[in-house]
Symmetry: C2
Subunit: 221 residues, 2 copies
């Protein structure tokens, strides 16, 4: 039970949320290290009193921001939908990342990747928070792939978990490239290739007859 992380009145909850949202935006724009409490305070139109009333430290704020993101993801209220129940949803999920990048003039990456790359060996708590976020994304994707396999719309030889990692990694890496290039082409082409790869696994029931083992599996160990 930490200091006093929660607000006990409606007004307090609003203030707290304003701080979290302002911080989330600043973290996305410039990362955690480059963002000072004073900046967050200014952006959220609050004061130092409130800040340290609701968050025990800057690290505590980061933690709460990530918790907020995670909650938004699970609740479906995130800016980007992680409800993936069809291939079309999956394509939308990819496209949403491209749009996210474009929305900020190609100057930002993924909020989680931005924060994630700042993590060091001392930031255990934050690292775990981020890991949970990515595990959640991974889980959503994996479940979708497994379901598709069960429905016979995805090669049963495919590794659902592996494909999920692959999708996330492609998107994360692509957004980094796009941000550094200040261009959306890296994102577009990477997404295109990633989708093409999924397309390969898709609808390939690997009839045990002819084409089996013709190099379609990922190379073994």
């Amino acid at each position: 039970m930490p200091g006093r992380p929660a607000a006990r009145s409606k007004k307090g909850a609003e203030t707290r949320l304003r701080i979290i949202l302002a911080a989330a935006d600043l973290f996305h724009r410039q990362g955690v290290h480059a963002t000072s409490p004073d900046e967050v305070i200014a952006a959220s139109k609050t004061g130092k009193g409130q800040f340290y009333h609701y968050f025990k430290s800057k690290e505590g704020l980061v933690h709460e921001v990530l918790q907020h993101h995670l909650q938004a993801m699970t609740a479906g209220s995130a800016g980007l939908s992680y409800e993936i129940d069809s291939w079309q949803d999956l394509e939308r999920w990819f496209a949403a990342h491209l749009e996210l990048q474009q929305r900020f003039g190609m100057t930002r990456g993924c909020p989680f990747g931005t924060i994630g790359n700042e993590v060091t060996e001392n930031d255990e708590l934050i690292r775990q928070d981020l890991n949970r976020i990515f595990e959640h994304m991974h889980h959503r994707l994996e479940v979708f792939f497994i379901k598709e396999q069960a429905q016979g719309r995805l090669d049963p030889d495919a590794s659902a978990a592996g494909l999920a990692h692959f999708c996330i990694a492609a998107v994360q890496g692509a957004m980094l490239m796009g941000k550094l290039a200040r261009h959306s082409r890296p994102v577009e082409t990477t997404i295109r290739e990633a989708l093409a790869h999924l397309e390969q696994w898709r609808r390939r029931q690997a009839p045990p007859t002819a084409t089996a083992g013709r190099g379609r599996r990922a190379p073994g160990p």
Copy 2:
């Protein structure tokens, strides 16, 4: 012509290099923002005098570190070979990233990705340095793919530039995931899928007869 970026004596050059190498390692471990000049000075066994004698500011040091990396890449003296002249070389290139991650106990990502995600709109110089580094990697890969196409070992319909982006993004994203998960599985599986995707394009001359247009192309616009 900035202050005095270059060393004029052999001893000076050694000191300068010690600082660059120490900084490169610290940046890789904990990022730029989390690394202070004092830390670099301590790690390189030098003093403030030397530091500001050879580098006009911390940002200047970052720039020089990246230039050093770029030079190492072009000279082939980087820890990781970017000479890609065969599919085996390409597999080695992927594998080298996995080894890099494992060498540090899965606690670090790619040095460039780590720095790259810290870049904001104010760090134009650094952003351009990083972009050049990634462009260099991209160019190496693209040239390889083009050559393979010329040799008839890669589908001429493939986008060499797109595949290059795809490879880099996959590796970058994978290393971020691996660092956050403190595990190498995300990297392994992502690399596996990426290679499987390349395998698809490879040796597929798309004989204009039978299999043409059977969903192998990336989806068009």
